[in-house]
């Protein structure tokens, strides 16, 4: 017989909670599900968490009449409070680091940490954009090295490195087209955009002063070549085509489209958001493209950061390159790389359409993307495209017996698999599927896009998902599809297990509260 433990401890599993037990907690937290107040609720203004050296301060005569009446009414939290606040908040986010993030057309792939490490080298991170060029040779060489990769991978003539994101790159491409048309002494005002395009395409065309005309899709989800050709004419400046397109399909007629547009005096802009499907396999330059932006934050693994920063270099054909923006990185006859700015533009880049933003572009993204590209090399990038396409087709064929795949019968997809809401029970929607996926521990796919498919579900697994990971995702999707077809009402109130239940977006828009009102 053992003596009783003098501390009173005894091994025990406790008792089972009664059915339906939902005890509220005093704190509002539930174990590792942590609630977090706003910083404004944690402290009053007037405090600071930064120790700033005391100086002998001189009088403020130089600022007489300009002084702020009172310091900004913002609290300052100490470091422990700050670290805890943001760490607790971070736990309310889903991220690629936690699991698959199969947002179609967003290419949420793993973000290698070597990229982060090297981008932080002081020689890249702690360099001012207006330092004398003699002190930034390495930075310019890095930009040029990335530029050469982008040109070679796309088979194009030149590249504008400064655009700050995909949509900014679209703008860059369209301004090149506009400048080229002006240089020919013509006035073309229309950009043709397929129905299935990203919303940024028509928005960019309008932002750049064009009017937009829509091109219908064929029954197999591609640009209708005949309809497009019929719209061409002396008023059409160009077309914006996404290839592979937003239905996850390669535009088989791309070369014919380019030839027709060129014959009619227009230019071809390609939205490169989906370049991950073809990198190292197909060069857009071989398809007659004149301009294409490359989202470094998609294909080349720079982090999305909860909504940016992006980076959208634009590769240009020989016809458009002379019109590219300033600054422009150019390799000189002696092999050195120079930045062409306003100072030299008149002699070195006389037809440039000008500057799109201050300084030289998203250097911090360039170093990350270059690190990624060098890691993969030409052979690895080809494998990236192959694995991305393989993973998407595996998802397509593992689900097309339980979900409607509108273009599934026509053949393989590229890097993303598209499904519709056809066949779900009356009253059950794509949104219910998405919210159900949240409860299953996955980030939902892109929903209700592209617009050409009803209740679209666009799944892009990317090449960085393992087969085992895909199998888990597929099992969840199959279960959800069966529940939605069977009319399982519990799906309509999903998510049940996330930090928040469905949020009232109508209320948010009707009475906007955009800042803390306390």
């Amino acid at each position: 017989m053992n003596a009783p433990n003098p501390s009173g401890w005894r091994p025990a599993m406790g008792v089972a909670a009664p059915e339906g037990f939902e005890s509220p907690t005093v704190s509002g937290d539930r174990a590792l599900m942590l609630e977090e107040p706003l910083i404004f609720e944690l402290r009053e203004p007037g405090t600071t968490g930064v120790d700033i050296d005391d100086l002998e301060l001189e009088p403020l005569d130089t600022l007489a009449g300009f002084l702020r009446a009172e310091a900004p009414a913002l609290p300052g939290l100490t470091e422990p409070e700050t670290v805890r606040h943001y760490t607790r908040l971070s736990r309310q986010n889903y991220a690629i680091d936690l699991g698959p993030f199969p947002l179609g057309s967003c290419t949420m792939k793993h973000n290698p940490r070597l990229n982060e490490k090297l981008a932080r080298l002081p020689g890249f991170a702690d360099v001012h954009p207006l330092q004398p060029q003699q002190t930034v040779r390495g930075a310019l060489a890095a930009i040029n090295e990335l530029a050469v990769w982008l040109i070679e991978l796309t088979g194009m003539h030149g590249v504008a490195m400064s655009p700050k994101a995909g949509a900014h790159g679209e703008l860059c491409g369209l301004l090149c087209i506009k400048a080229a048309i002006e240089a020919r002494g013509e006035d073309r005002t229309v950009i043709l955009v397929p129905e299935s395009a990203h919303g940024t395409n028509p928005a960019t065309a309008a932002f750049a002063g064009f009017s937009v005309e829509s091109i219908p899709a064929t029954a197999d989800g591609r640009v209708d070549l005949a309809a497009l050709t019929a719209k061409l004419g002396p008023h059409v400046a160009g077309v914006m085509i996404t290839n592979p397109n937003t239905c996850g399909l390669f535009e088989r007629d791309m070369k014919a489209i380019s030839d027709a547009v060129h014959a009619a005096g227009g230019y071809v802009y390609c939205d490169g958001a989906n370049f991950n499907a073809i990198v190292g396999k197909v060069r857009p330059g071989d398809l007659g493209i004149d301009a294409m932006h490359i989202n470094l934050h998609k294909t080349f693994s720079t982090p999305h950061g909860g909504g940016g920063p992006g980076s959208g270099p634009v590769v240009l054909s020989e016809a458009l390159a002379p019109f590219g923006p300033l600054p422009w990185t150019a390799r000189m006859a002696d092999g050195t790389v120079r930045l062409i700015e306003e100072e030299d533009a008149a002699t070195e880049m006389p037809t440039s359409f000008g500057r799109m933003a201050a300084f030289h572009g998203q250097m911090g993204m360039f170093t990350r993307a270059l690190t990624y590209i060098l890691s993969h090399g030409a052979d690895g990038l080809r494998q990236v495209a192959e694995d991305a396409v393989l993973n998407a087709n595996y998802v397509l064929r593992s689900l097309d017996d339980v979900l409607d795949a509108p273009f599934g019968a026509a053949g393989p997809c590229m890097h993303e698999a598209l499904f519709s809401d056809a066949g779900l029970a009356e009253g059950f929607s794509t949104l219910d599927m998405a919210k159900g996926l949240i409860d299953e521990g996955f980030h939902p796919m892109t929903v209700y896009f592209p617009l050409v498919v009803h209740g679209a579900m666009l799944i892009e697994p990317t090449e960085t998902e393992s087969k085992a990971g895909l199998d888990r995702f597929i099992a969840s999707m199959r279960s959800l599809a069966e529940r939605a077809k069977a009319g399982d009402e519990t799906l309509k109130s999903a998510p049940h297990f996330a930090p928040r239940r469905r949020l009232d977006e109508t209320l948010a828009a009707r009475k906007p509260v955009l800042t803390w009102q306390g």
């Binding site: 002084l67 330092q131 909860g306 909504g307 940016g308 201050a358 393992s466 469905r502 949020l503």
Partner: protein, 452 residues
């Protein structure tokens, strides 16, 4: 390859499920002529982590980093001390590797940060509201001009001569294509900014007046006076702040009558990074919120009544409105907004005020030292942490010669305004809390040497 989890066996098994004989069959829609038979020729193949690190480190070593020399550059990008916790926290995978918060139930972390960021920015700028960020200050400035044109239905913008020339160029590029008219002027080397000329240029056709505060030469315009004049003509005032730390000390533009305030937020949390990624700040009066570009985060409740946050007023945005959107912006600067917000959370308003005071004190010390260099005069009457000095010869050459002596001695006006010979001897210099008395002395001595 270390980033690709599929094995050969996986690939074979998956092809079996798909019913394809090879991966190439999956690319059957690509015309044969466009399919490359192997890796793109002429490019290197994959490399180990160690090899890549060696290559990139060698490139970085060819640059003179700001921390390795006495450093005095500004002109729209400022070097400040960033507390260690900022960079640590933005590297948490839940922030770093999340997408735009389209599914709010599992993105409350990012959304609450954006809501806090919007509040911080609005209170800093003195505006009613602020958005969730733009690409940078220069693109935010053009978006503000376009927004003012939508609100006033006028297309003529008056830009002050003190607006950063890259911002002017960015706006000029866009205006050339949209039909907006920009009235621009080069800066004049006066002790005070061109407020009177700006006011004189405002008329009944003016959509907006764009005024940088402090301006490109470090001078501080009289925003209240300009705002009164603009208001009398029904024009909006857009204030542009390229150094947000200044707002710890000088009055918030929104309090002086600015209708829209845009800024470059890089100075807090983001770092120099050779020019990007940076962070566009954008605030305005509440009545204009539906004309604003960019993402907005708003407060709401969930199905059980708990407070939560969502992206809102998206009917302004491209993914809903397409060609009728207020802007084409999509991805913006989320992670930079996070860095800014964390840095601001550590500082608080009181810390920012003290930081600003220290910046100004260092600038005063720098001004006194440079004024003691023979042949050098300080232009400004008022300044925050940046001011202009006039040298006896072309400042572009002086900057290069200073760099040869390992002093990063400011930004020459010739670099910023290559066509304006009248400005050639101007040098823009900045001091921040990172500038030590030893740095200032080293600069003074080097400048004496170069000008001797």
């Amino acid at each position: 390859m270390r980033y690709l989890p599929l094995t050969s066996a996986d690939r074979a098994e998956m092809l079996g499920v798909i019913g394809a004989a090879s991966v190439d069959d999956l690319f059957a829609d690509v015309p044969a002529a466009a399919r490359l038979p192997g890796p793109v020729p002429g490019l290197p193949h994959h490399a180990s982590e160690m090899a890549v690190e060696r290559h990139m480190t060698a490139l970085a070593a060819q640059n003179l980093s700001a921390g390795a020399a006495p450093f005095f550059l500004g002109a729209g990008a400022y070097r400040h001390h960033v507390p260690a916790s900022v960079d640590h926290l933005i590297q948490r995978g839940e922030f770093l590797t999340a997408y735009t918060p389209y599914q709010p139930e599992i993105a409350q972390g990012t959304l609450q940060v954006l809501f806090e960021f919007q509040t911080q920015v609005a209170r800093l700028l003195g505006t009613d509201v602020a958005n969730a960020s733009m690409y940078d200050g220069s693109t935010a400035c053009w978006e503000a001009i376009a927004m003012a044109a939508r609100i006033t239905r006028r297309k003529r913008a008056v830009l002050s001569g003190g607006l950063h020339p890259h911002y002017v160029s960015t706006a000029a590029t866009m205006a050339r294509f949209t039909g907006d008219v920009l009235e621009t002027r080069a800066p004049v080397l006066d002790a005070v900014p061109d407020d009177d000329a700006v006011i004189a240029a405002i008329d009944a056709e003016t959509s907006c007046v764009v005024v940088q505060y402090p301006d490109i030469l470090g001078r501080i315009p009289d925003l209240a006076k300009i705002a009164a004049a603009a208001q009398a003509h029904g024009a909006l005032v857009i204030a542009v702040v390229t150094e947000p730390v200044a707002l710890g000390l000088i009055e918030a533009p929104g309090k002086l009558g600015a209708d829209i305030v845009v800024g470059e937020g890089q100075a807090l949390g983001v770092g120099l990074q050779f020019g990007g990624p940076y962070l566009g700040l954008f605030g305005c009066r509440e009545k204009y919120v539906r004309q604003m570009p960019g993402r907005l985060c708003g407060q709401t409740v969930d199905a059980t009544g708990k407070r939560g946050f969502v992206l809102t007023l998206s009917t302004r945005e491209q993914h809903i409105r397409r060609e009728k959107a207020t802007s084409n912006i999509c991805t913006n600067a989320g992670l930079c907004a996070l860095a800014f917000s964390i840095h601001m959370t550590l500082l608080g308003g009181a810390g920012l005020a003290k930081l600003a005071r220290v910046n100004h004190a260092r600038a005063q010390q720098l001004a006194a030292r440079l004024a003691a260099v023979p042949g050098v005069t300080v232009l400004n009457r008022a300044y925050f942490n940046e001011f202009t000095v006039i040298l006896p010869r072309d400042a572009r050459d002086v900057v290069r010669e200073l760099a040869d002596r390992r002093v990063l001695g400011g930004v020459s006006l010739g670099r910023l305004y290559p066509q304006e010979t009248a400005l050639a001897n101007g040098l823009l210099v900045t001091a921040t809390e990172l500038t030590s008395p030893e740095d200032i002395e080293a600069f003074g001595t080097a400048l004496e040497g170069v000008l001797a």
